[in-house]
Symmetry: C2
Subunit: 383 residues, 2 copies
Amino acid sequence: MVRARPEVELDAWLRLKLTPGIGDASARKLLAAFGLPPTLFAQPRAALAAVVGPALAERLQAEPEGWRELCEQTRRWLAGDGRRQLLTLGDPDYPAELLQIEDPPLLLHLEGDLAALRHPLRLAMVGSRNPTAQGADHARQFARALAEAGACIVSGLALGIDGAAHEGALEAGGPTLALVGTGLDQVYPKKHQALAQRIAAQGALVSEYLLGTPPLAANFPKRNRLISGLSQGVLVVEAALQSGSLITARQAAEQGREVFAIPGSIHSPQSRGCHALIRQGAKLVESAADILEELRAQVPAATSGQETEPDETADPHDSVPGTASVPDDPLLRALGFEPCGLDALQARCGLDLPTLQARLLELEFDGWVVRLPGGVYQRRARG
Amino acid sequence: MVRARPEVELDAWLRLKLTPGIGDASARKLLAAFGLPPTLFAQPRAALAAVVGPALAERLQAEPEGWRELCEQTRRWLAGDGRRQLLTLGDPDYPAELLQIEDPPLLLHLEGDLAALRHPLRLAMVGSRNPTAQGADHARQFARALAEAGACIVSGLALGIDGAAHEGALEAGGPTLALVGTGLDQVYPKKHQALAQRIAAQGALVSEYLLGTPPLAANFPKRNRLISGLSQGVLVVEAALQSGSLITARQAAEQGREVFAIPGSIHSPQSRGCHALIRQGAKLVESAADILEELRAQVPAATSGQETEPDETADPHDSVPGTASVPDDPLLRALGFEPCGLDALQARCGLDLPTLQARLLELEFDGWVVRLPGGVYQRRARG
């Protein structure tokens, strides 16, 4: 596969993200149809129109306003600190967990340690921006205990529970991930400026929003899907009924993540949301140990402190006839060991759809890949 | 069926209960084999030995120590107040719900209003004898609200949560049932003397223990099965781990009763038991309304404020050929509309086993009775 020079590719991703009317869903459709953005933008209008209609095809052929400035700004931002990165949906470092959610972001800006994104035990902690004193203490204490036990605490940098959770993790010397709702050149709330710097130094700040994106009310609930999507479980520390934390918890459950909640007084409005979640099936927890026990039972690989790679050469008798050794196939590498949809796979390897499907079929016949329900493919641990 | 004079029958029940070595299980076996106690005691030793072995048969033929005094005492107690009764397993007023539990008591002493035993919506409330101030308030507040909504509160007259629950029900003017662990001529704890009197006046005190039975540690957990057995649900207000309330809750779940628990601070030892129950599937409740909603969904008949009798004559086309109208059968009357085991049925109607089984088979063929799994019979609502 011929790939464009990195800066050309980066510019094309930013252009795709910036094109008015092209949301992430349309963008994924285009990527699935044409491969990486530079190829996409080289298509004739008729080909684009066949995927997204004539109006959007026209917009795709015009340079979006502010694009060149954004490219400059993004390049400067990336160059400003060696710990800044832009991960695209086609990037091998893009978190596999996000490919499993309904609406994986096109881009992830990251400032800090990329390893925090791949930490084997990630637990989200969310809750009220106006917690009780007890609730804030719980957030800090649970985060500290969980970080001491080796978990990476994922939260949203908001006031209240979020901030206390990040603080607790940092106090324990653990990494922590902050999924923020603004561009990474902004810090919101301003009060968390110093906290954000400590998170970037000890863990990572992550945003799907373009540089310069101010705090917009609509972006925060959307950002919540990434908090749960990047975590194996979500702990709701304190939450009122009809609060954003309950939306995060619902999304977490829909994403197949475990939901935990801390109970409290039946007279505290800040506990009502937790009680509602428990009634709906969330696990009532009294201590960090309750959470670790549950998560370790679910993700045994995570407790070893490192990601596991199946040992494909362990038993030569298990190898498939005609494929003596594991093929060094770029498609298999792109697939990794997590289930992956066709569109994400296309975005990663840049093959056209018929070629991709033909290759997958071959690999399936040879026993290297299984097709799961819903058009999702997974590499087999052994051929 | 020829029945002994009431006082002769009463004496025979007390003798059966008092005979050393004859527990309730052996007693039920004897009743199943021979019918009512006067008949049982008229059996030759060999017949008794065939059921309970030679040693117990010998004991059954000797008058147990203190029996005549107990008969006198019980008669005096019954005569002392028109609201005192002794219900036996063979009595039509014996609560049908207790026949469904694993170990229904032979005798129930009752002081107060028999109607409280048949109240259509009975909810048990149990918990710590050393509750927090908040826990005691909850017990009183929930009991008051539930009684105002028409429920009869069932508890155990103990200090702490039990007492507060009875108080709350009485304050709301509702009936309340106290299942006590001593003979009804005793009050334990002494501190609840006045409370017991108010319960007897407005609801009922109930005990399976013979008059004169002092407070014995072993009897209180045993009594708990009646608290849950007589209730449609059990609310645990506050309970430490490894407390008697958790045993009651477990028994309630085994008896198919709904278990409810009030959450609290994760730092309160008195809430730990409730949290453990919620994790095991008890319903977390924040208000009396939560409980009523659940119970009314389960027992729709109970919400009408009166027991329902199926209308057997509603549709003449549904009648079974050859049985134009509902037979006025004493066995059907004894069966009632709750599922009932053979031994309880024998105790109620005094038929010998072969006769009883033959009659049941006839009724089953004619469509008046169904046999449920576990040798339990139930009258059908319509033939």
